[in-house]
């Protein structure tokens, strides 16, 4: 019976650990996008930025042998792509959605092209050094909880530790107040001397860096290699998480876990050999996305000036 294989402690522990593992990268992108959107910019180019980060991060890690350097370069890759986005939307006041779509298409082509130019078509694709889990002393020995939470790879800890920090920064500091004011009413912010464009630039670049790092996590830490379109819609799921998490880092973490669960459920069920068409299982995270959007999107109200260009008179 399949149920026998599912209702075991090992399966559940594996499932929960995988939930956290796969939630982390999406959450990181969502956190960056929360800051971007809170400043009044809707950057749907997250997917493209993730791809860029995945490639630049992979290349750096592969050629230098340093995964850490790979992460830094991943951030740089995402940041560069978001700089293009920021220039077009903030400086030139182009439509954010149109530019976002362009970024996604551009990044998909560009990354595959560069990868192909450097490595050609290979049977055994080049890989980075695998990344080891870090067991947190003391905590990782706790039964179940330790296995679920404290035997993860370092990037997972990093992302979840970011959540309280970013939440505090956004809601309890002067910087956060400025960001939120720019997203709500940029003209009002300008009249009290807040540099609207500078803040929007910073938030977009921060979002880009987060997405780039997400990409590097995917390519270096999870897969150890780069693949065409390896973001696999995670950028769009991150956008959904921003809304589902009501533009709040803490709630976004909860939302990311739900998506992580849906994602892990399919891999774990496949692993135990469930006799069920895998295509349907693979749909799970996307189905959850659509479902979540249908359920909450009407009741969540974003920043008032979201996706409106700011014209200075």
């Amino acid at each position: 019976m399949v149920l026998d294989r599912i209702l075991t402690l090992t399966f559940i522990v594996n499932l929960l650990a995988a939930t956290i593992r796969s939630a982390a990268p999406i959450l990181l992108s969502a956190l960056g996008e929360i800051y971007t959107e809170k400043s009044g910019v809707c950057n749907i180019g997250v997917e493209g930025q993730i791809l860029c980060g995945a490639l630049t991060g992979f290349l750096a890690a592969y050629f230098t042998g340093s995964n850490l350097f790979g992460f830094v370069m991943g951030m740089a890759g995402g940041l560069l792509m978001s700089l293009l986005f920021a220039f077009l939307t903030v400086t030139l006041n182009a439509d954010q959605i149109v530019v976002g779509v362009t970024v996604n298409i551009f990044a998909a082509g560009l990354t595959s092209f560069i990868y192909r130019v450097i490595f050609g078509v290979t049977i055994f694709p080049p890989a980075t050094k695998p990344m080891k889990e870090i067991f947190i002393k003391g905590l990782s020995d706790i039964p179940i909880i330790g296995q679920v939470f404290f035997q993860q790879k370092p990037y997972v800890y990093f992302v979840f530790l970011l959540v309280p920090f970013l939440s505090y920064l956004l809601f309890k500091t002067t910087v956060g107040l400025k960001i939120r004011s720019v997203g709500e009413n940029p003209l009002a912010a300008e009249t009290v001397g807040i540099p609207v464009r500078l803040i929007r630039y910073c938030c977009i670049l921060f979002g880009g860096a987060c997405a780039g790092l997400t990409g590097a996590f995917l390519s270096i830490a999870q897969l150890t290699r780069f693949m065409d379109n390896m973001a696999g819609g995670r950028g769009f799921i991150a956008l959904a998480i921003v809304i589902f998490g009501q533009y709040n880092p803490t709630k976004a973490a909860a939302a990311a876990l739900i998506f992580g669960f849906a994602d892990s459920l399919q891999t774990c069920l496949q692993a135990v050999g469930l006799k069920f068409p895998e295509q349907f299982l693979r749909m799970a995270p996307y189905l959850v996305t659509i479902l979540a959007m249908v359920l909450v999107s009407k009741s969540v109200s974003g920043p008032a000036s979201l996706s409106k260009p700011y014209y200075k008179e």
Binding site: T174, S181, N185, V192
Partner: protein, 503 residues
């Protein structure tokens, strides 16, 4: 008396327009100085120069005894100049404290310190009788209160000179009184105030001196006590103005609009119009008076077919049009001048010609086999432009290039020129200058003499008073009282508007 501000020879060109032409303007310490002029006379440009939003091509500004160059709002804030903009510069989802401290919050490192600011705001609020709760969320406050938050923002920054741009445009009569009391309080504390307005009565009652602008030039600066409203009006417009309406009593005809027990919800799904009934006969103007936000918008939208009706019935010309599409309602003989002219009145990216036939675009006159008849449409538009004196280069420019007054004339032209027997007009003169107001008023009176049944929904009490045959007062979505013209009485209506009397 010391002068806190002197502006000398200020000149500002925009492409094709001389907005300010060698303007001399000064403000004494502790005076309320009114800046009076029609829309487009250059008052806002002058103030934006003072506030650092524009740079003048010529002229100097002397503030507090020193010549200054103001390159940004931040610099004017540092000079202790505060501005309350016509459209409030507030963040609706923030609390009062957050709004007040925004931009100058970083005195104590990165952590937000709201406690000290809260105390300071309480103190200021008490000192000037503002009565603002620092922890209230701004969007939940009534408009008058929001304006006080703007004043608080300026006071918190230690403003010595406060600019108020058309501050009464959005206020109720009671709120205007309260505002004036606050301004007088501030004056006695030594704050200087520039009061921008085109409303003569207000200028007369609040200001110490008045400077009148017309077409970018200073016409005159006078002591308020030495002048009169009619003199001010003449200087402002450059000719005699007749805002006084002579409503010759006339026989009314059949019932043209009948509303029975209407119930309508607002955007938040709360009851906005509650069991409202009214009747309107041909040849009469029924004014709906009331404080903004008592269901006027919802009522007008429901009548125009733009908002679903929960229960009750609406008859136009005897035809039941409840929850019918606007097109059907229109065909039954209703014309509609909406409250928000940019949003519901015109399509701002369409040309004047296209806008002029929006209601009749399907008629044989303007379309043939699904194609629009360009020549006919243009002729029609040119005709309207002439008849309604719409100031525009031609009929092919986009509606968004029109000033507020001309846009309203365009809407009136369209609505008045199509076959109709019922006319709904909502806030017809909001934001318009005296000359445009004069035009709209006389057009409405003409409509009335032609036998149209007119429903005038307005929060401008003066307007309702001078134009209506009957006034019905709306309060919390209900008609709480109705007066015939011979019984009009400001006090009675004021009390009804405040909900303190049930008729």
């Amino acid at each position: 008396m010391n002068q806190i501000l002197q502006m000398r020879g200020i000149t500002k060109h925009f492409p094709g327009v001389l907005a300010n032409d060698h303007i001399d303007f000064d403000v004494n310490e502790g005076e309320i100085h009114a800046l009076l002029g029609e829309n487009g006379s250059g008052k806002t440009t002058l103030m934006n120069i003072l506030y650092g939003l524009y740079q003048p091509q010529e002229g100097i500004i002397i503030f507090d005894g020193k010549e200054v160059k103001i390159n940004s709002p931040l610099q004017s804030i540092e000079l202790k100049i505060g501005m309350v903009h016509q459209h409030f510069m507030l963040i609706p989802v923030f609390t009062v404290v957050e709004n007040v401290i925004l931009g100058i919050e970083a005195e104590k490192g990165i952590k937000l310190d709201l406690d000290k600011a809260r105390e300071e705001i309480r103190h200021l609020s008490h000192e000037f009788g503002l009565d603002v709760d620092p922890d209230a969320i701004v969007w939940q406050l009534p408009v008058g209160m929001q304006q006080r938050v703007e004043i608080l923002k300026a006071l918190y920054r230690g403003a010595k000179l406060l600019i108020l741009d058309e501050p009464t445009a959005v206020l109720t009569p009671q709120e205007i009184n309260d505002l004036f009391k606050i301004l007088r309080d501030m004056r006695s504390h030594g704050t200087s105030i520039i009061f921008i307005s085109h409303k003569l009565n207000e200028v007369m009652s609040i200001s110490d001196r008045v400077t009148i602008l017309n077409r970018g030039k200073v016409i005159h600066t006078v002591n308020t006590k030495d002048t009169s409203p009619s003199e001010l009006a003449r200087m402002m417009v450059g000719r005699e103005v007749f805002l006084h309406v002579d409503l010759i009593s006339q026989e009314t005809g059949d019932i043209k609009l009948k509303v029975e027990n209407l119930k309508v919800l607002n955007d938040k799904k709360l009851i906005a119009v509650n069991d409202l009934s009214l009747e309107l006969r041909s040849g009469e103007i029924l004014g709906i008076a009331g404080v903004d936000g008592n269901g006027q918008s919802e009522l007008s939208e429901a009548l125009g077919g733009l908002r679903p009706i929960e229960s009750g019935k609406v008859f136009v010309n005897g035809v039941n049009v409840t929850n019918k599409r606007p097109e059907i309602i229109t065909q039954c003989g209703m014309s509609y001048v909406p409250q928000d002219r940019k949003k519901h009145g015109v399509v701002i990216d369409f040309s004047l010609a296209e806008n002029s036939i929006l209601r009749s675009h399907k008629s044989k006159e303007f379309s043939a086999n699904g194609f629009s008849r360009k020549t006919k449409i243009n002729e029609y538009a040119d005709d309207l432009i002439k008849k309604f004196d719409i100031r525009t280069p031609n009929s092919q420019v986009h509606a968004k290039t029109l000033s507020g007054g001309n846009m309203q004339k365009l809407i009136c032209a369209r609505e008045f020129s199509r076959p109709h027997e019922v006319l709904i007009v909502v806030q017809p003169t909001r934001g318009l200058d005296v000359a445009a107001m004069e035009f709209i008023y006389s057009s409405l009176v003409d409509e009335r003499s032609r036998g149209t049944a007119i429903l005038l929904i307005s929060t401008e009490l003066d307007e309702v008073f001078s134009l209506s045959d009957r006034i019905a007062v709306i309060y919390e979505g209900k008609i709480v009282g109705e007066l015939a013209r011979e019984n009009f009485n400001t006090e009675q209506i004021g009390l009804l508007m405040a909900g303190s009397v049930t008729h």
